[in-house]
Every structure is written in C-alpha cells, then in structure tokens.
C-alpha cells in the first residue's frame, strides 16, 4: 500500500489470526473448516469493510472443450492456464463490487472475476507427446469463455468460492470469517490476505499463512508411491495375490 496518500488522521489498522494454521490430511480427512478472527482498530470509527482472500498453491489447469465430431462428442485440444490457484476463496462484509471499484479489486487480485491467471506474456504453445497444448494468452478472442469455464468447474468442486457476506462483525470491532476447505483442496502452502477497505480503498493489510499437508499413513503411502514407485507397485501386487490365496485357503477349510 506504498502508493497510498499519507493519511491526515490516525490510520485504521486491521489485525487477524487463524484458529488453525496447519490442516492435517489423515485417513478420515473430509475437508476442514478454519475460523479466522480479526479486529479493526480505528480511532475515528469510519465505516469499514473487511475482505479476506485465501489462495492455495498454484496449479496448472488443463481444460478441454467438448466438440461434436460426426455423431460423437470428443475433447478439443486442451488449453493450459498457468499459475491459477488450486484453491481460491474470498469472504467479505458486502459483495465485493459494492466495496471497491473493479480497477482496485483487479490490482489486488481480489474476487474470482479479478483473479489473474499469470499466463505467459504473448501466449505460447506447449508441446508434449507430439500434441500441442494451447497456452491461452490474455488477449485471445475466446479467452473469457475459457476463463469462465475454469471458474465454473472449480466452483462446482468447491475449490473456488466467494462468500459475499462471509465476514461478519461479532462485536463492535471484532470480525469473524470461515474458510471451508473441501476434500479435494490441494496439498501445500496457503495464504490468507486480510484487507481493510475504507471509502473504496484498501487502507490496511495482514497476511496469514496456512498449510495443508498429508500426515501419518496418508503421507507415508503417498511418499512411498512417488519415491519408490516400482517397489510400491510390487508391494501392492503382493498384497493382492496374497489376499487371493488367503481367501481360497480360508474358504477351503469351511
């Protein structure tokens, strides 16, 4: 917020904390609800809005459109969006478009509509397996349609969300918001950005970190499968054959 004009009156400040900073993915993981608490400190008690933006680790997104070819529907060549967050949600005291102008939200990357997928400058082509994935550039004609599709599909999976009244004041200056992580939430480091808006401008900001990680047997198996894939395969086949043999022995005795 360096380019903000120096305030004439004492500045308003926002402060916040998460009830959990480490979400552990165990075998009974079914998503998580994390409560964020915060407070607004403003000696002048000017009208304030709070916006919480939570971002998960970036994940490349490959998306294809179904096109009719003859009698059947087939996938078009996939389009790749680089650097879109794997999880993204906003919570605010009011709908974002009533808190600030689009240009302000755009510069902050606040709101699903203003989410900037950091696409390569002039659009490139990514070649793999002899097929060419189109990397969409920000200027493409049907960019908007693809982008909407990404947001729509992600929202349906609970990975992108906007809670227009997700931040509520529980006491005069004390507010609360809830972050809902679905089971499909990606593993990795998340950031929660808490913005205080006054008069359509961001006046104070706090960042809080959050990690989602597999622990215990879930982590053990995942690491095993990726670090020793061949041994992992042999072990799983061994279990399968052993179980088959065991069942036939048990049933024979009966």
């Amino acid at each position: 917020m360096a380019d903000l004009p120096p305030p004439a009156s004492p500045p308003a400040l926002v402060s916040a904390a998460l009830t959990t900073t480490q979400v552990q993915v165990t075998s009974d993981f079914r998503g998580a609800r994390i409560v964020l608490y915060g407070a607004v400190f403003d000696p002048l008690d000017r009208p304030s809005d709070v916006v919480v933006v939570v971002r998960g680790p970036d994940q490349a997104i490959r998306i294809a459109r179904k096109v009719k070819t003859g009698p059947i529907w087939v996938n078009s060549r996939p389009v790749v969006f680089q650097g879109a967050p794997g999880f993204y949600m906003t919570a605010s005291t009011r709908p974002l478009d009533r808190i600030a102008r689009p240009a302000v939200l755009q510069s902050l990357g606040a709101g699903v509509d203003h989410l900037s997928f950091s696409v390569p400058g002039n659009g490139g082509i990514d070649t793999r397996f002899g097929s060419r994935d189109t990397v969409v550039s920000g200027q493409g004609a049907d960019y908007g349609e693809w982008r909407q599709a990404v947001v729509r599909l992600k929202s349906r999976a609970g990975l992108y969300a906007a809670a227009d009244h997700g931040v509520s004041f529980v006491d005069q200056n004390l507010f609360r918001a809830e972050i809902v992580l679905p089971t499909a939430a990606p593993i990795g480091a998340y950031s929660a950005e808490i913005l205080l808006f006054q008069d359509g401008q961001p006046v104070s900001r706090r960042m809080r970190g959050l990690t989602v990680e597999k622990v215990g047997i879930e982590r053990g198996l995942y690491v095993f499968a990726h670090q020793r894939p061949w041994l992992f395969g042999l072990v799983s086949v061994f279990i399968a054959l052993g179980a088959g043999w065991l069942a036939s022995v048990i049933f024979r005795r009966n």
Binding site: V25, K66, I217, L221, P229, F232, G233, S236
Partner: protein, 306 residues
Amino acid sequence: MDLYLPIAEVSVNAPVLVLLGAAVGFISGMFGIGGGFLMTPVLIFMGIPPVVAVASEANHVAASSTSSVIAYTRRKAVDFRMGGILAAGGAVGSLIGVEVFRVLRGLGQADLVVSLSYLIFLGVIGGLMLTESLGSILRRRRGDPPAPRGDRRPPWLYGLPFKMRFPRSRLYISVIPPIALGVFVGILSAIMGVGGGFILVPAMVYLLRMPAGVVVGTSLFQIIITTSLTSVLQAGRNQTVDIVLATLLLIGGVMGAQLGARASSRFRAEELRALLALIVLIVGLRMGFGLFVTPDEPFVMMAGNG
C-alpha cells in the same frame, strides 16, 4: 465410515467399496472374468479420477482372479501352458498399453478412448454372446438338438508355423494366435482397467476352440499375470495405483470370488453366458451413451497435470 485415499485424493465410503468389491468378485468367480469392466466404470462414477481407477482396478482384478484360480486349479480346470503363452503376449500388450495410456493422457483423449473401447468391445461381444446363448437356450427349450459344434477348427489355426501341443486343451496349434490374442488383451487391460476376460473367454471358445471346461480357469490364470504386471507398470510409470482403494476392493473381492466360483456350478453354461452377455452389453452401452448426448457442461477439466 469415510476414508481418504492417499493417491486418488478423494474421500470414499469404505464399507460401500468393500461390498462393491464383493459383488464384482462374485460375478468374477462365477463367470471366470476379472470383473474390471464393471468396477472401473463404477469407480469413475463415484468420483475417483479415471487414471487412478484404471490402475487400482488392475490390482483388484489380480486379487479376485487369484482367489478363484486356486479353486479352478483343484478341479484341474486350468491349462497352464496355454495360460502362459497368452500371458507372454499379455505382458508385451500391457507394456504397450501403459505407454499408449500415457500418450493419450497427454493428448487429453484418454476419456474418449476409454469410452469408445467400452462401447465397441463390450457392445460387440455382449451382442454376439447374447445372440449365441439365447439361441442355444431356445433350442433346448424346444427340444431341438444342439447346434453342430463346428468342431472343424478354422484352417488358419493349423496353417501357421510354431505349433505346440496343449494336452489339457487337447489342441495342437500354432502359438501365434494365442500370443496375438494375449497382446491385444494386454493393451486393453492397461487402457480400460480390465483383465480382459470378457474378450478372452469368447475368443478361447470360438476362435481357439478350447474345451469349455478349461476356458474359465485358463482365462483367469492369464488375467492374474497380465493385471499384476499392469499394476506394477502403472505404479512405476504413472504413480496411479491407490493401494488403499485396491485393498478395500480386494477384501470383498476375494471372498465374493470364492462364493461366485461355487455358485457357478448350479447354473447351465448357456444361461450363465446369456446373463454375462446382458451385463456386458448394458455396461458397454452405458459407457458409450455419454459420447452421443449433448453435454450439459461443454468444458472438462483434466485431472492433475495430465
């Protein structure tokens, strides 16, 4: 009781999966097929990423097949030599199939090829089997003599070189057709997440003219080898085998297979075939159906990075 799967990264209901495994295992033991063609679509429908469903299902098929093959071995209903030759072809086929699957994932066309394969292979085989078995059921009801079995085997079986004796199947034929069949089934095994029994069983009966008594056991024996290999390859190359998912399925699967193998002796062969044909046909049409209807959502997200 919900369980989070470490590789599939979704949460599933564990008892439901065990019961599903048992139901499919029962069908597997009864008809001498792996049952993958039933289970893989169900897993995908339940929200397991298709690539994980295909790879983990190969593991489940290996388990149920082992369970029922042991039962068939006791009845001397397995032609190990024929099974071994088929499996040699199957090994080559799964190597090819796993690589083909990687390329298809890269092209974003894996779903299409999986759906098309189901539609074509299950549709054709289900249709043929249903016609044939309904024909023999009707003939028996009418009291007509069974259709001439056409014991004159196709001449090409004898014209080809590299002949080998298969005493248990009472055959003396070239090894080329069984190897080719094995390769073909191995490729399908990797792409469709199936053992390939639904193709092997009819092919052994109608193409290789093996005696009906050894067909089921031999098919299962070759399926064990092919799916075990597919499992290891999928884990090694694609890291898509979910051991927790596979274990849940196989707990039910191995028990269901035992019960199914026992139940099979209570039915007539052609009635079993008619029933199997019906199941095969329905699954094939269901999987292919989606290709023809206008999708509600014209866009699809590809799982992970592939």
